[in-house]
């Protein structure tokens, strides 16, 4: 028996939420950006903006050039996160097998609840009605129904916005034949380039390519490509317990490009503290730290270090990432970021060293404060902007100190 998987993708999610909240933005081209709109990117373009050529991840100046009437609106991540929890709670009313895939996408395994594809279509319509009741008319979703996650996602992408696409097992090949290779989740620009080099430009050509040739070129990924070309998905089914984070990270676009080490240290330290706090809050420690730098000319560099002693201390994270970043500072930097991965549950084992035990108890006290009053209740002095003011009194006897 085939499984029945639903993939639900909210349309232009951040923009739709803002249009739901603010009726004066409805029907207008809007772009959701970061706080500093001039140096930000369009995180989501509204359906109206997309029609005028604005694309996701486009820089704001480029988006404004293409669409001068574009309204830029600073995003509200807390709002989007709250709404995400609400729509996932709606999905839970229909099946316990819900796997959030990203902030605006989820997979649902409704094999038992729907019984067949007709039942699945009816259930998809009911979910859509519930979303409308709970969230309003302007937050809409596209839904794909297929026998596995890979094809459900592809089906969902074919009709947007507000599409409902059903692909039964015997229609998989037909769907693939109508799609481009890079429409499939898992075939990105690099894989596409390598496929083109093998003269494979369609799914029919991918199917015609012998498995041995694909494995020779792509190693183990060759098998995945071969299976995907037939609409088969070898990944595990819908995993309702997949909410554990794989990594924690933050990045920051600087207000202006700089090479000043004091400024860069301050921002990187602030990011490291944020990452450290989130890990301690979730009771995990990391062994791998990746630092990321984007330069003024938009070239990027990232590098990682794996450490023997796992950590969730902002100071450790900062030291490791600064060691990566420091030698790279040969030109102006636009963005810095760091992420922590290779996570394990924190065993809470006290350190043998007194200094480290003292630091752990300080962090513990600071974490209690953040739990009670929220993120940002404390900051290290080193992360505050340095603002030396001119003396207004005194005899300046300390001028040689």
């Amino acid at each position: 028996m085939h499984r029945i998987i639903l993939h639900i993708d909210m349309n232009s999610y951040f923009a739709s939420v803002e249009q739901q909240a603010n009726p004066f933005l409805r029907g207008k081209p809007i772009g959701i950006t970061g706080k500093d709109q001039e140096r930000s990117v369009v995180a989501t373009a509204s359906i109206e903006a997309k029609k005028l050529g604005v694309k996701t991840a486009m820089s704001t100046w480029e988006a404004k050039k293409i669409c001068p009437s574009l309204i830029l609106y600073a995003g509200d991540p807390e709002k989007y996160s709250d709404i995400m929890h609400r729509f996932n709670a709606i999905y839970q009313e229909f099946t316990p097998h819900v796997e959030p895939f990203s902030v605006d996408e989820s997979f649902l395994d409704i094999t038992e609840e729907a019984e067949d594809f007709f039942g699945a279509t009816y259930m998809a319509q009911m979910i859509r009605t519930r979303l409308k009741e709970e969230l309003g008319n302007h937050i809409t979703a596209s839904i794909g129904i297929a026998p596995n996650k890979l094809m459900a996602k592809l089906a969902c992408e074919t009709v947007k916005p507000s599409g409902l696409t059903v692909v039964q097992p015997e229609e998989l090949i037909d769907l693939l034949n109508r799609c481009k290779l890079d429409d499939l989740c898992g075939i990105g620009p690099r894989i596409l380039k390598r496929l083109h080099a093998l003269d494979i430009k369609t799914f029919a050509e991918l199917r015609a390519c012998p498995l041995e040739d694909l494995q020779r070129e792509f190693k183990s990924y060759g098998l995945w490509l071969h299976e995907a070309a037939y609409g088969r998905d070898s990944s595990q089914g819908v995993n309702a317990n997949s909410s554990d984070a794989k990594s924690y990270g933050h990045s920051y676009t600087l207000p202006e490009n700089t090479q000043d080490q004091t400024v860069l240290k301050r921002y990187l330290f602030g990011l490291a503290d944020k990452v450290g706090w989130r890990m301690r809050r979730d009771g995990v420690v990391a062994r791998r730290i990746t630092a990321h730098v984007r330069f003024g000319d938009f070239t990027s560099h990232s590098e990682q270090r794996t450490v023997n002693t796992p950590t969730a201390d902002g100071m450790d994270l900062f030291k490791i990432s600064w060691n990566i970043v420091k030698p790279l500072l040969t030109s102006d930097v636009r963005l810095v970021g760091l992420s922590a991965s290779m996570l394990t549950k924190n065993p809470s084992q006290p350190s043998l060293f007194k200094k480290e035990r003292n630091m752990q108890s300080v962090l513990c006290a600071l974490d209690s404060l953040q739990h009670r009053y929220g993120t940002g209740v404390w900051k290290r002095g080193a992360t505050l902007p340095l603002n030396l003011k001119q003396r207004s009194s005194g005899f300046h006897f300390d001028h040689e100190v």
């Binding site: 939420v17 739901q20 603010n22 004066f24 933005l25 609106y73 309003g136 009670r372």
Partner: protein
């Protein structure tokens, strides 16, 4: 016009079906009749759960913040069409 604010306001509300519906608000010595409640969402400030109401009248969009611990309302965002 889009403004981020943090002004204390007076709000009259209706309670219906276990939900809160802001009806009128008084800000800057002026009364505003709330026509629609477009979206309600929550956010955490530490252990505190804060409620945000995105509401509008015929010409303005208001984002109202309710601190249920202090029973305090604030106007945090204003958007006027045009």
């Amino acid at each position: 016009m889009h403004e981020m604010l943090n002004d204390p306001i007076d709000v009259t509300v209706a309670f219906k079906d276990n939900r809160v519906f802001p009806r009128t608000m008084r800000w800057n010595e002026r009364d505003y009749k709330i026509e629609t409640v477009n979206l309600v969402h929550t956010a955490r400030e530490g252990q505190k759960r804060i409620f945000y109401f995105s509401v509008s009248d015929t010409t303005n969009y208001f984002k109202l913040k309710l601190d249920p611990e202090m029973l305090e309302w604030r106007l945090v965002e204003l958007y006027t069409d045009g």
